[in-house]
Symmetry: C2
Subunit: 160 residues, 2 copies
Amino acid sequence: MNTEEALVTSAINAWKGAIERADKLFSPLSEDQLQKEVAPGKNRLVYLWGHLTAVHDRMLPLLYLGERLHPEYDDLFLTNPDKSRPNLPPAGEIKKSWDAVNNKLLSGFGGVSAGDWLQKHASVSEEEFAKDPSRNRFAILLSRTSHIAFHLGQTALIPK
Amino acid sequence: MNTEEALVTSAINAWKGAIERADKLFSPLSEDQLQKEVAPGKNRLVYLWGHLTAVHDRMLPLLYLGERLHPEYDDLFLTNPDKSRPNLPPAGEIKKSWDAVNNKLLSGFGGVSAGDWLQKHASVSEEEFAKDPSRNRFAILLSRTSHIAFHLGQTALIPK
């Protein structure tokens, strides 16, 4: 493996580690446990799990890795705050979506060369990208890894 | 800039962005505001600020970037929980330490080549590193960037 491939591998490993920590946290929870808020009046665990799934689902087209699998999650977990939608999917269904989205992403990551990670992502125009090449796919991978950590930090506040 | 340099630059940019977000959050706070807990009974902002400073200070020797500047922060903000030490440094002093540590790190980052980012960090032995080359300096940079996000996520829960 050359230097550029090893750098990309490190970043994908960091992503995988974050996904595994989130999976270990959310997947074993019962419907009741998923109703817990991270702090009084704040987001419930079920919302954060669906929110991460929605944000990751949006990474598929953003990184040119294919069509979204669950665009319907945006309304439930992203564009509206928690508790604004009365009927959320059951835990087993969120788990399936979470796994499917993350598996599709990870398998897609494997086909992106180091040079392609530095290409523009889908939400930036050619013009803007020419001015600011830091708006590349690698930056998305890094920022979404931190996004998982951002919410895991919140879940760590729930009393055991 | 070649591919490997651009990948490193992306990761350093992600780090800088996280530092800037944390700085914007903590630096303007008064002593009173720094006493706020992120959730009832949880860490105070002053503790998290010192904690991030201590963790970043430890990155200096870990990444072979020089001696630590504030080893005394470990006792106050890392090896002991919040509220176990009655006298914490005043905000102005934490701000100075925070800036000094992050400036020394950032300036050190500039002198690390892409290949050197993939070398072992100081807490892994040559033997362990030969078995698992993923325990490199780049992985530390990525994980410490996520560590900032982890705690920023908690601070985001404080009512405005």
